[in-house]
Structure formats: structure tokens, C-alpha cells
Subunit: 415 residues, 2 copies
Amino acid sequence: MALAKTMEPLLQGNSAIRKMFELGQEMAEKYGKENVYDFSLGNPVAPVPYEVKNAIISLLENQDPHEIHGYMKNAGYDEVREQIARHLKRRFELPYEKEQILLCAGAAGGLNVLMRCLLDEEDEVLCFAPYFTEYNAYVSHYKGKLTVVPIKEDNFSLDIAMADRLIRRKTKAVILNNPNNPSGVVYKEEELKALAEMLREAEERVGHPIYLICDEPYRELVYDDRIVPFMPGLYHNSIYLYSFSKTLSIPGERIGYLAIGAGVEDGEKLMRAATIAGRTLGFVNAPSLFQKVISECLEVKVDVGFYDRNRRLLYTELTEMGFSCLPPEGAFYLLMKSPLEDTEGFQKMAEEEHIIMVPTDGFGLPGYFRLSYCIPFESIESSLPAFRALWEKVKHRKETDAEQKDSDVKNQKIL
Amino acid sequence: MALAKTMEPLLQGNSAIRKMFELGQEMAEKYGKENVYDFSLGNPVAPVPYEVKNAIISLLENQDPHEIHGYMKNAGYDEVREQIARHLKRRFELPYEKEQILLCAGAAGGLNVLMRCLLDEEDEVLCFAPYFTEYNAYVSHYKGKLTVVPIKEDNFSLDIAMADRLIRRKTKAVILNNPNNPSGVVYKEEELKALAEMLREAEERVGHPIYLICDEPYRELVYDDRIVPFMPGLYHNSIYLYSFSKTLSIPGERIGYLAIGAGVEDGEKLMRAATIAGRTLGFVNAPSLFQKVISECLEVKVDVGFYDRNRRLLYTELTEMGFSCLPPEGAFYLLMKSPLEDTEGFQKMAEEEHIIMVPTDGFGLPGYFRLSYCIPFESIESSLPAFRALWEKVKHRKETDAEQKDSDVKNQKIL
């Protein structure tokens, strides 16, 4: 009675990620941190680039404290917006202007602002499985509905035909997370072109814009010289959403931006709405000092080699042992298929070996686990014996299951 | 069609404060900044205490960047929560524990989190006029309803009997802003005790908790040795909401906290809900560096004398000229009664003298204007001739109106 009824599902659900993280913490206390292999949390650990500290100190030395810590326009400091617009223009050759940039409290903040702007009750947002589990909550706050396009399990590419079938008059937006959390997949230009083509046709069909929200906090974390195509260049109604959490290893600071380019239908109105939504949802503005910090660090990023070493080691070793994993192309997640049909049983086995992974049921993909390899290299090295022991147990369980099956079959024959 | 229908009222309304601020900016460009007397925006200008800069630099020098800028528990750093709990315990002699503290993105962020936790569709929140105009939006995001208790205009005290009549089964919470924006009133202990008494009885009547949300960003800005009573000591279901924006002149940084004490019914559950709501509304956590900064500055505040000088000068001069103003006791706002029944006409007159004030219609109090005196002392000094000219015009207009009335009366008699 005291709390809102609509809070109950959120209280029940909470986040599988946080739950596993807390389990990891408990186990670390019980068995010692070095004896627990915690792959639960996407907490960036690549060193924070020194430019971040330098920028803070230089700002403190050279600018008026009121200018650094005070109110500015709700959309952000004009000069920061200008810098970001120029950066995008230079990098992606699209004519962004400062009026099209809104500083926001990370990608999560930006997504909530957009959901508030777009969704009336029962309106729908489409996303592709596997997807970041919190999208459900973002949409539910404003009484919208998240429609999930199932994954094509053969190659983890976007099922565009299915997405097309799921788009209805109520569909206001599509969220695309590229590189993808939790799969580590980077969607390719050809499938993104096909997506754009489909969306253009769907817009004709439903008679209103379908905004493609490009949720790209992992854009800079890609490997093997992969390139993340820039969707606003392919689809006019793309809203670009970026966060500096991973690029600069500063997720606690809550800083990112929205870019709503000239091609976006009702773009000016949407920008005005997002500014007001941001203020009235209680963000007011993105944290002021860090607006200025990131504007000094637009060309800076963490050493991606840091994650790449982890990625190679973990993927190579696990697949050699026998685990079936999706080759990670971006972000810092590795997707492992449960080697047993009994996913929960497998998870318990892993926990017995002190391995903490996040089951991806909540990400719209049952039967898989997400391993965040944003942990020290040494932790991955020292986890390998535990994975080997786990694989032995899996093999043994498989053999027992097979024998059981055989004997079941025989018994059936005798009967 | 593209945007949510529920965004339209927000787009139409926007904020009267921001509108006047923008008018001020435009006029400053046209006539020169020194020739415009802008009392529109509550932007703290007292010098940022040097402890803020010192804390930042010391943190950067002595702590691991991941610890400063990384993820922590969604509720905030444990040691910061501990510091705040201790601070509250020491100052108000209530046994707060760190588990009862949630770091949030300023008071606006905290209020949104609470609204999300408490409100189902049609649920009501009560507040007392005059009230911070954005409460309307905070409540509307979650489809709740803001019920406003009108002001007792004789002395601007809380109309508790009226509040009592307006509390219904749907009423989940009451917001109390003390010191008050826009009136500058500090509510006194006796009326707060009466409020507590009334709420206890109302809880009995409606059969569920009525949370009193104590929105106190201006707590430290009080004058003439006034004391702001601490409501959680007077009413068990008080939720204390604090922001450092005004106390440290850092409103751009978005940092504050919620304290849900041991006496609060379902307090633990509410704290859990608030943590999850904070994460899923996209705040995730309060900005990390500034969590640590404020924990080093819990005993620090701006020089209140800075605002007090402004307050005395403005109030004394305006009342001497003939304007009717409420004696400001806290915050940095002065409430002026429109000297003309034609409030809009008076506002236009003021603008002709380049004086920008915010009409308080949107604050639930028609016929008044809010003057923010958080501007340089010199600006107030140089605005005085404009106010004198304004008063002359008012007098002239009153005389003309009176003559007109007389002649109307005479004409009526002749007819």
C-alpha cells in the first residue's frame, strides 16, 4: 500500500547482473577475493586516461568556480555542445550543429529522457535480442511496452524480417545497441543498411516517424580493426546516444550526449522536449564539471588493448576446453552457450567452482551466460583451472545423462 | 504524432523561470548587461568555498581513478553514506545509519525517484502554495496528481486545517519545502508540530502511511539566526531530502541525498525501491567524484552574509519606496505583491524599466512576483533607480485608475 504497485515488478526483478555481483561479493568475503572468479559486472577497468585528471586540474586552475560548477542551459554548456558537434562533423561527415546536441547523464539518462519524450501509454519500443535488460524498466516507467525481436541463433545477426512484422502503428522507436551488450557482436554495415531500408518502408506503412535510437556506449571498444557503422548516415531518423563511461573508464560520473541531426523528423521539437524532460525528470543538466572534462577529451580513449588481451585469452582457452562461445567483436562481454540443457544446474556447477556469470534470460536469450572480461588479466589467468574443473564436471554430467537415457530406452524396450 | 501526447503540456508550459531568464538574456544583448536588472534565476552566486577545490585536488592526488570515477553501489559509496549518517546523527540527534542514506542527483533527482517509488496512476501528492513550480511535472511523469493547499495570505503560514481536508485515501505524500521557494518563508516549529499532529491523525483515517518529503535545499540559507526545525524529529514518516547546490554553490554538479530514518514505515523497502528507481530512471548513481567531494565538505557552507547583504538592501529599499514585500527569512528569494490589480500590466511596466521578475502564478500564487537576490550586490544597488522609476509609474497609473473610477461613478450618477 505504501509503495506504488508499479514498483513491485521492479523490486521483484531487480537486475540479474546486480544479483550475481552481490553473490560474487558475498563469496569473495567467504572464500577470499583471489578465489572467486567474478565475471558479473561491466565495470570498466582499463586505466582512466591521464587526460581526464589533467583536464580537471586545468579547469580548476583556469576557470571561475561558478562557471565550472554552476547552472548552465539545461541542454549543456554551449561551447561543449559546439565541440561535440564539430567532433561528430569531422568524424562522421554529417553536418551536426550545437543546437542538435544535448548533454545527458550517460546513456541510461539519455534513454530515459527519450522514452519520456516519445511514449504514451501502450506505445511500443522495439529492440533486438539479446538486449540490455534495463530497457524493460526504462520503457515501463512511462507505461510503454518493449517488444523484443528474437535472435537468429545461427549467426546472431539482426532478424530484420521479423522486426518488420513486429512494427505496428503503436511503435514509436527502435533501440539498437551496437556493439551489443551482452553478446559482444558488432552489427555489420550490410545488415544496418537493410534495417534502414526496412524502417523507411515501415514509416510509410504506419504513417509516422520511427526513431532509431542508437545506443552506443561501446562504440570505441572494438577489436581486430572492426568498424562500427554510423547509423545517422544510413537512416534519417537516427538519434545518436553516446556515453563516455566506457571510452574514458568513468562510469560513475554519468556523462554522455544525445545528437539529433538535421535529418530527424520533428528533430527541433524533439530536442526541445528532451531538454524539458531532462530538467523535469530531475537530471536538470548533465554534471557540469564533467561536461567540460569530456569536451577536452573527445579524441581520447582508454587503451583497448587492455580488454583485447583478456578477450583473446578467455575466448581461446574456453573454446579449447570445449565450451561453445560467440567470438566477441566489441564491448567487453563474451557470450557462452550453456553446455547443459539444465541451465540452472550448469550455473550452480559454475558457482561451486567460484565462477560467477550472468544468465542472459533477462536479456531475452535463455540458455546463455554473459561473461564480462573487464577484469584484470591475472584474474582471467587464475580462473582457467576453475573453468577446466567445470568442464570436467560438465562432461561427467553429460555422460551420466547419456547413460541414464540409454538405460531409460532399454528399460522401455524391456517393458 | 511523433512525440508523446503527455509531453505537450510540458512543452507548452515550460518554466516561467526559464522564460524570464531567456527574456533577461535577450534584453542584456540588446541594452547591455549592466542595464538589465535580472532577478529571474535562482543561480547561487556566493563564492564556492575553497574546500570544494581542495577536496577535488586531494582526491585526484590520493585515490585510484577507478575508485573516484567508477561504479559503486547504486545507493552511493558506503563510506560517503556513513559520513552523512554520522553528520545527521551529530547534528540532529537522530540515529541514522548508512543503509538509510541514498546519494542522489540533487533534490530534483531525489524527488523524481520518490515520485516513481510512491505513485500509481491517480495517486495524489499534497503541497503548500506557494510551491516550486516543477513539482507538477515530477508528479505528472508517473501519472499522479499534485493537490495544492492555498496560502493563508495574511501571514503566509501553513493552512493545516485545509491540508487536512484535502488529504484522501489516494494521498501518498506531502512535499514541504522549507525554507520556501518562492516566498523566502521559514516555517516555524509550532506550525510544523501542528502539521505532524494532523498527519498522524490523517494516517489513521486513511489507513496507510503519508510520507512527508522534506525538500530542504535551502536549509543552510537562513538569516537573523533563524533555525529550520528538523522534521524527521517531529514526524515519524519524514523523508529528508537535501541538496548541496545552494550550500556549496555547485548546482551544476547535481549532488544531494535522501535520508529515510528508522521511524519511517516500510522504510527499508522504500530505500530498496529508491535505489532501483534511481538506477532504472537512468541516474544509475549520483555523480561519483562529487559524492566524495561533499563527504569532505559536510560542515562547510557558503558565506550566508553574501546573500544577507543583498536581502537587507533590496527589502529595505523596496518597502521604503512603497512596494509591499514579504520579509524574507530564508533562501534567496523575495516575494513582492503586485501593486496593481493588473499584474500583467505591472510586469510590462517593470520590463520597460529593464527589471526582470518571475510572476508566481505557476507557483500557485497569482498576484505576486519572485525576485531572486542571488546576484552581485552592485547589481542590486544599480537596480534601485529603475525600481524608483517603476514606483512612480505605478503611482501615476493608480492615480489615473482612481480618477477613471471617480469619473465612471460620476457618469453613472448622471445617467
